[in-house]
Structure formats: structure tokens, C-alpha cells
Amino acid sequence: MNELIQNLKVQIIEQLNLKDIKPEDIGDNQPLFVEGLGLDSIDALELIVLLQQNYGIKLARAEEGPVVFKSVSSMANYIMANKK
């Protein structure tokens, strides 16, 4: 799980081009949107693409988005629960 979280942090930084942020700057449970990393709706789309490209997971229901993308930990939990 720890490895998955670390990988996710690297992938998020790369996908969203967060040049000034290092993986260690992102807390496992730190909110990704608004506060915390301050991501927005376009970033949410990028994160959906990230899940598809790297883990083959499609977000089935849009209403799951706020829960899945709450933090890096919640993303990791979703990946663990849905990976094939």
C-alpha cells in the first residue's frame, strides 16, 4: 500500500505538472482539491485519465469522484478495491 501511495504521488505530480512540488510534500491524507493541493475540475479529469492509463480502472459513477479523489490514500484504497 505504501508503495502504491508513493507511486501515485509521483504520477500525480507528473500528470498535473506540479513542478514545484515533491512527492514528500503531499501528505497521504491531505485534501487534493480546493484546500491542500488546490486542484480544480480540469485536474479531476486528469486524475480520471491517470487511473485509466496506469491502473486500467474506469471511474464507474461520477458521484464517486469526491470520495475517490479526496486524498492520495483514498485513491490508493479505490485502486486496491477495484484492480483486476
Binding site: 485519465v49 485509466q52 492509463q53
Partner: protein, 352 residues
């Protein structure tokens, strides 16, 4: 009603972003590809906004901010951009990913930024300008088309200022294509200072972003007056000469003091340029500018920047002075540009 250049911002292969001046010597390069000397963009846009911007957008945003700051204006009433190829890097990224991921799982950012009008939109967002916003995509008269639109708006009196720019980027992919088409000279033994002595085909590839804050009421800080502009397409060089002479006559000018010409080192292109230049004025001081910025579709914006700086200073940059202590009266400058003899343009500037 006349239109005046009040502010300018220019990012080019020369160090032009830190001032609209001719004091700095221009640099020559041993290369067939000229890349812009860029400022630190973090001084212009905050990190959160800049991370999604590709290089061409950053160039556009920074040069437009420089132009507005130079003009002392807070917000443009209109943003009008001319670009032949738009956000080429983003388009290339988006198309590559379409192939790589078989048209699935595409990054939204590259898609959003793959359109030509992203540059004008980003500029408007940053200035919170909700006024007229338009992008002209018309090969090598894209900038001139944007300029004509701005002049018409200002002459109508519906706005008092407009931000107008010409911008194009050179990417690895576009450079390879230009090379394959034979539009670029071999880099071996090439020095931009000797570009016009070359007898081979092709020119040097370039890029740039020059923005202008235009106003319809002059003050003593204005650089120059835009007296006339004309685009001429799909015609012979004789027709271009005729129309250029008519334009000069309409504006009461027999021969322009300075003629900034389209010479680019390509033998065929330069033959056309010579025909037009020779018909326009034997007394005019003829300048060449494409060794400074390279050949690209909106290079006339660089030429207009150069012309405005010369008119404001009423003297030529050191590299264009051929005889010591030679005095040159500089009241008006005509810019003649063309590429591959298809679209020609004429921009006439005069002192305010």
C-alpha cells in the same frame, strides 16, 4: 482616426523581452533554427496557473503583459491575436496521445490547449478582459489580419485600446517538417550574420511573440503611428509593387525613409523581395530583419516592433549603420513581408 502604438512586448531569439530598446547589440547564431530567449515566467504568472501553459502560451501571456505594462494600461478592451500554427506543441501532444492510447484516455489539458485561440483566451483570463476576443489564423498574414481588425475597431471608436499580437512557436516536429520540405538551410557552416549571402534554398527557422498595445489617442509616450496596412494575396510581384506605390501615394509619401524588407536568404523568395524593394524607393534605407528572428509566419510582428523602436529613437540600431556618422531622417518606415510569394503584406508606420 489614427491608431498609435503605445506599448510593446517582444519575446524573440534576440534578448528583446527586457526592454524596447536598440541599445543591446543583436546576436548572430551558427544555427538554422532560432529559439526564443525567454524570461523567467514565474515573474509573470503564478505557479498554479502556469503549470498548464505550454511554451507558446507562456510566451504570449508574458509578451502581452510586457506590452500592457509598457503602455501603462491595466486592462485591454480587446484582445486580438494572429497565429498561423497556434499551440503546436499541445496539438502534437494531443494527437500523439490519440494514436498511443487508441483515441481513448486523452488528457483534457492538451485537448483544451490544442486550439489556436487558447493564447488569446488565456491573455483575456489573466487580464479579466471580457471584451472582444479574436484569433486570426491566416498563414503568413495572420498577424496583419489581427492588426487590421484592431485598427477597424479603434477607428470605429467602439474601443479606445486593443492588445494585438503575432505569435508562433517552432517545435521539434514542425522543424523536422520544414527541413523535409526544404524550407530550412543546412546548419553546417551557416551563420545568421551571413544569411543573405547564401545561395542555397531555404531560410532559417524562427519563432517569436510580439504584442502591441494600440490606442486611438496619442500621447508623448507612443512609439509610432500606424498609417496604413495592406495585405495582398495570390498575385504577381508587379501587382504588389503597384499596390505598394499606390499605398505610399495615398499617404503622401514618395519614398519611405526606411524599408524593412522580407529578405530571408532563400534565393527564390529574395528575387521576389528584390523586385518589390527596387520599385519602392532607391533613396530608402533597406533593412533586413529575418537573420535576427528567423523565418516564421508571424515574423511581421517582430518587424513592426523593430520599426516602432527605430521610429521612436529616430535612429537605426548599430548593426544597420553602414557609414560612420551617417545621418538618416526617420519619419516613416514601410514594412514589406511575404513568404513563398503567396501572401504579401505592407505596414506603414510614421512618427506620432
Amino acid at each position: 482616426m489614427d491608431v498609435f502604438i503605445k506599448g510593446m512586448g517582444n519575446i524573440s531569439p534576440q534578448r528583446t523581452f527586457d526592454g524596447n530598446t536598440i541599445e543591446n547589440a543583436f546576436t548572430s547564431f551558427e544555427a538554422n533554427r532560432l529559439k526564443c530567449i525567454e524570461p523567467d515566467y514565474s515573474h509573470f504568472v503564478d505557479a498554479k496557473q502556469i503549470r498548464r501553459m505550454s511554451r507558446v502560451i507562456k510566451m504570449g501571456v508574458a509578451s502581452s503583459m510586457l506590452a500592457m505594462k509598457d503602455a501603462g494600461l491595466q486592462k485591454p478592451e480587446a484582445v486580438i491575436v494572429g497565429t498561423a500554427l497556434g499551440c503546436l506543441e499541445d496539438t502534437s501532444t494531443f494527437l500523439s496521445k490519440m494514436v498511443e492510447y487508441k483515441e481513448d484516455m486523452l488528457s483534457p489539458t492538451a485537448f483544451i490547449h490544442s486550439t489556436h485561440n487558447t493564447i488569446a483566451s488565456q491573455i483575456a483570463l489573466l487580464f479579466e478582459c471580457r471584451g472582444y476576443n479574436s484569433t486570426y489564423v491566416h498563414r503568413n498574414i495572420s498577424f496583419e489580419s489581427a492588426l487590421i481588425d484592431a485598427i477597424m475597431l479603434l477607428q470605429e471608436g467602439s474601443i479606445t485600446n486593443a492588445l494585438v499580437g503575432g505569435i508562433d512557436e517552432l517545435t521539434n516536429t514542425s522543424f523536422k517538417i520544414l527541413e523535409r520540405l526544404g524550407h530550412v538551410k543546412q546548419s553546417e557552416g551557416l551563420n545568421t550574420a551571413n544569411l543573405y549571402q547564401s545561395t542555397s534554398k531555404g531560410s532559417i527557422a524562427g519563432e517569436g511573440s510580439a504584442f502591441f498595445s494600440l490606442v486611438n489617442k496619442p500621447d508623448n509616450t507612443c512609439y509610432a503611428k500606424i498609417k496604413a496596412i495592406k495585405t495582398i494575396s495570390f498575385t504577381s510581384s508587379d501587382q504588389v509593387c503597384e499596390k505598394a506605390l499606390a499605398m505610399l501615394k495615398e499617404n503622401g509619401i514618395k519614398e519611405p525613409n526606411v524599408l524593412i524588407s522580407a529578405y530571408n536568404g532563400d534565393l527564390e523568395d529574395d528575387n521576389t523581395t528584390s523586385t518589390v524593394v527596387n520599385s519602392l524607393g532607391m533613396q530608402s534605407k533597406v533593412l533586413k530583419y529575418k537573420h535576427l528572428c528567423g523565418e516564421y509566419a508571424t515574423s511581421a510582428a517582430f518587424a513592426m516592433w523593430l520599426a516602432a523602436v527605430i521610429i521612436k529613437n529616430k535612429r537605426l540600431p548599430q548593426e544597420f549603420i553602414t557609414a560612420p556618422n551617417s545621418e538618416q531622417k526617420i519619419e516613416n518606415i514601410l514594412i514589406y513581408n511575404h513568404y513563398k510569394k503567396i501572401h504579401h503584406s505592407l505596414i506603414l508606420l510614421s512618427s506620432c
